[in-house]
Amino acid sequence: MKITLKLYATLSDLLPAGAVANASSIEIDEAATLNHIIDRYRVPRELAHLVLINGVFVCDTDRDQPGALVEGDVLAIWPPVAGG
């Protein structure tokens, strides 16, 4: 199934070629866990700080559950960032 992967800030360069506005459409297995995807795109796990599915935070202890994503979901990942 297809989902949208968004990688931001210092993780931007890890997106597949052709990504637009930090987003890329990717094909994943229905049973994929978030950590599978994080590893597949070589995002160091310690830098997958802010992990959001459709804008909702997923804490690191919940990232090994299979089937966390459904078709059309948006998975967005940031390293530790802040501002204000």
Binding site: P80, V81, A82
Partner: protein, 618 residues
């Protein structure tokens, strides 16, 4: 010690300057900068005075660590009663002038009265003189800064100035220092201009001595710098992307106020984001971001230095703007961009340059333009008011035009200079003003971040993110992650952030250190520099005392607890997309618990026990 124990009192009515000893009893209770200067203000002005009359005072104040080699120790604050809100105003700025004031031997400068004609204050170490500034009046910040630097022939002189917007009475005018750093919020620049004070120029050559335990201080400073360097946010994130890294984050979580806070997500967010500032432009292959920059003694360096595309409509005939200058920070980018619906990075950068050049708070400016755009959309403001400019959401031309008009106080720019509240009242729709206590919101929608809603509603200077930045916890997980859509636990979280921030703002350090530091990192540096014992608990107590003192001033100024609220839009019109879809801000679920945590009565007034506990003045 670390304090110089000296303040400079400048009576603008009489044209006199006088040295005074610092009230060290107050320094022990309020530390410095925000806390200590507010203590002086509370003592010296009638809370009900006209903010733009001669009875208001303007205080420029450093903290005990300002000017030392602690990381970020260049901060100073400008304190007065605000013309925008009628509440206490305290605006903090970095750059270099705070450190320069300290190195000239002064903890603070208090301005009182009003000069008969324009003046500037020139301080060289222990000597301070008021000089005529008739030739500077009517000049922008950048022009006047250039003229003064040409006169002094000393690039190390640091200057804080007001621009034409302040002279023209724009109610959210800033005091700009070092060309593009500003004590930005609440109209402190308007108060400075109302006193006919155009600029303060300072040269200090004395260094900062008086450190209580120099060896321990060096050790604690070194340890603090190591923590900042090793932390992913302060060591990498902020220097690389600046605060603007938040644009995409806050949009993704559905808390990016859009088009005068009607919506919570902006389709053009990525185009005006920190990431986009790193993208090469089509026209010249250059990036918007030239480099990052640092304030005095800062090892984080979050500042943005940017250029505008020379072919962009805003500057193509204006080579004076083909420069590297202060670029977009997140709050400014949000107000100029998503809140007005404009997704043109160059237009935002141009408007930001003008805010620096003529001293407008970009948050209040952008939010006021957003309100005007909604008023235009419903027909309350028409082309006859604007002189033909179509003030439509999304119009980059309208944004740039508005910035030019407010900068000079021309035409409709006078109305835009009133701020969102008075503008919306004037045009018959007060409900469209997105303000608390008359001050415009920053860049987080309380429907998608419940804690920020409470922080805005209870902020002592009106809507503000820098009085209790619970976004750190609710979104970024600092110090620990809380759910942005939950109200549980938020009253305690807001109070903790408010008190800690008040302490940091009184120390001379930058609040951005707190993305890595806690008071356990800060207190040892203060303790080594200052006489007495400064534990984290004492810092928190000082912060809570400051918070109560500011609240007390506001109540005496006539700002009732009923103003601890949010615009109706945020309390009753639910978010239309994202994780907060169908949510409003549930302020009523948080406010009673917050009052109780503060030791206030259920009607929000400060109880006599709390007054006694903190030994509040008067």
């Amino acid at each position: 010690m670390a304090w110089t124990r000296k303040l400079l009192r400048v009576n603008l009515t009489n044209g006199t300057v006088a040295e005074e000893g610092l009230n060290m009893g107050w320094a022990n209770d309020y530390l410095g900068q925000r806390g200590l200067a507010t203590r002086y203000l509370v003592d010296e002005i009638d809370p009900q005075c006209d903010p733009l009359g001669p009875d208001n005072k303007l205080i420029m104040a450093t903290g005990p660590l300002t000017g030392t080699n602690a990381s970020t120790a260049g901060r100073y604050s400008v304190i007065c009663k605000s013309p925008l809100t009628g509440a206490v105003a305290c605006s903090n700025s970095g750059g270099f002038i705070g450190a320069e004031m300290k190195m000239a031997g002064w903890d603070m400068v208090i301005f009182e009265g009003k000069a008969a004609s324009p003046v500037y204050l020139h301080i060289v170490d222990g000597v301070a003189k008021l000089e005529p500034a008739d030739d500077l009046w009517g000049k922008s910040v950048w022009e006047a800064d250039k003229a003064l630097h040409a006169k002094f022939q000393d690039p190390q002189t640091r200057i804080a100035l007001v621009g034409r917007s302040a002279e023209q009475g724009c109610l959210y005018a800033a005091v700009v220092n070092d060309l593009h750093r500003a004590a930005g919020r609440s109209g402190v620049g308007t108060v400075m201009a109302s006193k006919n004070l155009k600029a303060v120029a300072i040269r200090g050559t004395q260094g900062v001595g008086n450190i209580e335990d120099p060896k321990k201080f060096m050790e604690t400073v070194k340890a603090g710098k190591a923590v900042l360097a090793e932390n992913a946010v302060t060591g990498q994130g902020l220097p690389t992307y600046g605060t603007q890294v938040l644009m995409n984050v806050i949009n993704e979580v559905g808390a990016l106020p859009t088009r005068n806070m009607r919506e919570v997500q902006f389709e053009g967010a990525s185009k005006v984001s920190g990431e986009a500032m790193h993208e090469p432009r089509k026209s010249d292959g250059k990036k918007n971001l030239t480099t990052n920059g640092a304030c005095f003694s800062c090892t984080i360096a979050c500042g943005r230095i940017s250029t505008i595309d020379r072919t962009h409509f805003s500057v193509k005939d204006k080579p004076e703007y083909w420069i590297n200058s202060g670029g977009l920070e997140y709050e400014a980018a949000w107000a100029l961009g998503p809140d007005t619906g404009v997704d043109d990075m160059d237009a935002l950068t141009y408007a930001n340059f003008l805010c620096n050049e003529d001293g407008m708070d970009p948050i209040s400016f952008g939010s006021t333009v957003a309100a005007a755009m909604e008023l235009y959309e419903i027909g309350a403001i028409t082309d006859s008011h604007t002189g033909g400019m179509e003030l439509k959401f999304g119009s980059a031309e309208a944004l740039c035009w508005a910035a030019e008009k407010v900068a000079k106080g021309e035409g409709f720019g006078k109305d835009l200079g009133l701020g969102s509240k008075k503008l919306c009242e004037k045009y018959g729709h007060p409900e469209l003003s997105m303000t608390v206590k008359g001050q415009e919101f920053p860049a987080y929608d309380p429907r998608g971040m419940q804690g920020m809603g409470l922080a805005y509603a209870t902020s002592n200077r009106g809507a503000c993110h820098l009085r209790g930045y619970t976004a750190a916890s609710e979104i970024l997980g600092i110090p620990e992650k809380t759910d942005p859509l939950h109200t549980e636990g938020k009253p305690g979280l807001v109070k903790a952030f408010q008190d800690a921030t008040a302490a940091v703002d009184s120390s001379g350090l930058c609040v951005f250190t707190t993305f890595a530091w806690t008071l356990d990192d800060i207190a040892p540096q203060v303790d080594a520099a200052c006489e007495g014992d400064w534990s984290p608990d004492r810092m928190l107590e000082v912060g809570e005392r400051i918070w109560n003192m500011e609240r007390d001033f506001n109540m005496k100024a006539g700002i009732a607890a009923s103003e601890d609220t949010l615009p109706k839009r945020l309390l009753s019109e639910s978010a239309n997309s994202g994780p907060a879809k169908d949510r409003v801000c549930d302020l009523d679920k948080m406010l009673p618990e917050y009052y109780a945590a503060r030791g206030w009565s259920s009607d929000g007034s400060i109880t006599s026990e709390t007054r006694q506990k903190f030994n509040l003045p008067g």
